[in-house]
């Protein structure tokens, strides 16, 4: 079966490209959301031929700037570890995507084709192991820079990450006790169906305490506000003070990809992964025609909505600008109308799906829901960052050791009691 031979390569490519594609969007969202939360407009000046896309072009300008900058290496650094740090930061944050199941397993001619790059039975352990590797990047960078400040930053980061690793691991134990498996696809599959017929049976509803601890710990693991002490920009003690140009960009990208990866892990473990709420895989496959119609229909509806917004935007641009920027809305409107026409065409001329077609449609719908959940959680990351102030170091340690770990142990105990009472543990 050729599909079995080439699908792993395709999936590796998808798993690597998905976070890298989300990265510029994430950086754009960070700027724009922070601006809107603070009553500012955010970036909107950089343009290519007048197309500004509300500031997306700034990400491209950033890349050009960072590549064109001088790549400084301070004279007395340990150059091997100094160079290794940024590469590790980016590389390790990309790895968790390799085992996130992007959709339910395809069945082609009796052969099962898993839609993930690496099929591992110990998925959760792998994720935890890889996340702990992240601290090496920070420690290498902090130590090899030969700078007391970056060393301090690296030390603080190491202490923080090691502390919160415990909470991260323990918070998952309760969930594993319920799921009775470490395989990520199996965990996602178990989150289908409903609780009491109203709530989707996601782990977030089964393990609310575990979810809370996991989310707090993943914030600390990704060095994200309110736990971004390793970076500590206002105290100027960060592990990457000595880095410039693309090496700094690698840390930057690594941080954002770690956020996207963390969101993917949270979505998979607690928010149902690729599960479409109230519709399991079999039901989707039976109704694949309907699903495809709904997908095309909602795309068309979205295009109509976008066109209305763009027409209002065009009016504003015509009043404001006299140069090439005034035509932006019209160009975008053309693209949107083309897309909408394509969606309508797809809706009208949809062929009858074969069994394989049904499975592919199902996979696409499930993957859309997974990406949607990831994006929502990414938004949550940004939202928290622009709301909360940074923790003090002792508060951070107190929260980690004295609150989260006891709570995680309590969660394990409660889960155990519940399992014994409802007789699911045996």
């Amino acid at each position: 079966m050729p599909a079995e031979l080439f699908m792993p390569f395709v999936m590796v490519l998808v798993a690597a490209l998905l976070p890298l594609q989300l990265l510029p969007a994430m950086i754009w969202a960070e700027r724009k959301v922070s601006a809107f939360i603070q009553d500012r407009t955010g970036p909107n000046r950089a343009d290519i031929l007048g197309i500004r896309l509300g500031g997306v072009i700034h990400s491209i300008a950033d890349v050009v700037k960072l590549i064109a900058k001088e790549d400084m290496t301070p004279s007395k650094v340990n150059s091997f570890y100094y160079s290794l740090g940024p590469f590790l930061a980016l590389f390790i944050s990309l790895i968790p995507f390799s085992i996130i199941p992007l959709a339910d397993t395809l069945k082609i001619g009796g052969a099962a084709i898993p839609l993930r790059a690496v099929t591992l039975d110990v998925g959760i352990l792998f994720i935890l192991a890889i996340t702990s590797f992240h601290v090496y990047a920070v420690v290498f960078a902090g130590w090899a820079s030969n700078n007391s400040f970056s060393l301090l930053g690296g030390l603080r980061s190491a202490a923080q990450m090691v502390s919160y690793e415990l909470g991260l691991g323990l918070s998952l134990v309760g969930m594993i006790m319920v799921a009775q498996t470490l395989d990520l696809n199996e965990i996602v599959r178990q989150q289908g169906g409903t609780i009491f017929g109203i709530l989707p049976a996601w782990n977030v509803f089964l393990q609310p305490l575990g979810f809370l601890i996991f989310v707090v710990s993943i914030f600390a693991e990704t060095n994200r506000n309110p736990f971004d002490l390793p970076e500590g920009e206002s105290e100027i003690i960060g592990f990457h003070v000595e880095y410039s140009s693309m090496r700094f960009a690698f840390f930057f990208m690594g941080e954002y990809i770690a956020i996207i990866g963390g969101s993917a892990v949270v979505a998979t473990l607690f928010l149902g992964g690729w599960q479409v709420p109230f519709f399991d895989t079999e039901m989707l496959r039976e109704n694949a025609m309907l699903a495809a119609r709904i997908a095309f229909g909602s795309t068309a509806a979205l295009c109509v909505l976008l066109s209305i917004i763009l027409m209002a935007y065009d009016k504003k641009l015509q009043a404001l600008y006299t140069d090439k920027r005034r035509f932006e809305a019209r160009v975008l409107l053309g693209i949107v109308v083309t897309l909408g026409a394509g969606a309508v065409g797809g809706l009208l001329f949809l062929p009858t799906l074969s069994s394989l077609g049904e499975q592919i449609v199902t996979a696409i719908v499930q993957n859309t829901f997974l990406v949607g959940k990831i994006l929502l959680f990414c938004f949550f990351f940004i939202w928290v960052r622009w709301t909360l102030p940074r923790f003090r170091y002792d508060q951070l340690m107190n929260l980690g050791w004295k609150t989260l770990i006891p709570l995680a142990l309590l969660n394990i105990f409660l889960t155990g009691v519940a399992l014994v009472l409802f007789d699911r543990g045996a």
């Binding site: 959301v33 809107f36 939360i37 603070q38 009553d39 500012r40 407009t41 909107n44 404001l320 600008y321 939202w383 928290v384 622009w386 709301t387 909360l388």
Partner: protein, 158 residues
């Protein structure tokens, strides 16, 4: 006198120490701002500056101008009041005699706008209402310093 420590506020209770409720309140505040600004971007106070400009108040002090009499000659009588009043020492005047009436008149009237602090004391000091700052010009940037020393003709033109 003893220096006492005044404790303001009460210690945090269990609800506040759990962070969760306070964090939720903070998050609600920021999402409220976010939603409001997404739905109505025009309501944000930001001006798209070079395209949109602020409406200046009537008494805004901009670049100086020198007033003219009805016959087109400068009102300035070179009394040096403005030069004396100027705290930034940016005005320099050279006086000369006027041909017909024997009155003094400025031969040179230079304002070094790089030094000017836009305080308006020269306008208050002027006995003849010859100097005003009501042009509303504030985009005075240039690429060389010589262009920013305005002479008599430049000041009279506006």
């Amino acid at each position: 006198m003893m220096i006492g420590v005044k404790k303001i506020g009460k210690p945090m209770d269990i609800k506040e120490r759990s962070y969760l409720f306070e964090i939720a309140r903070g998050m609600m505040t920021s999402i409220r701002h976010f939603i409001r600004n997404v739905l109505n971007q025009g309501a944000m106070p930001t001006l798209q500056y070079p395209e949109e400009k602020r409406v200046l108040p009537e008494r805004f002090r901009g670049r100086h101008r020198l007033m003219q009499r009805e016959d087109g000659t400068p009102r300035c009588v070179a009394c040096f009041c403005c030069q004396t009043a100027c705290p930034a020492d940016c005005i320099s005047i050279e006086a000369t005699e006027r041909d017909d009436e024997g009155e003094k008149v400025a031969a040179r009237f230079d304002i070094n706008i790089l030094r000017c602090v836009f305080c308006g004391l020269c306008v208050e000091a002027c006995p003849c209402d010859a100097i005003r700052m009501d042009t509303g010009m504030y985009e005075l940037a240039d690429t060389n310093r010589e262009n920013l020393i305005y002479d008599l003709n430049t000041l009279l033109r506006h």
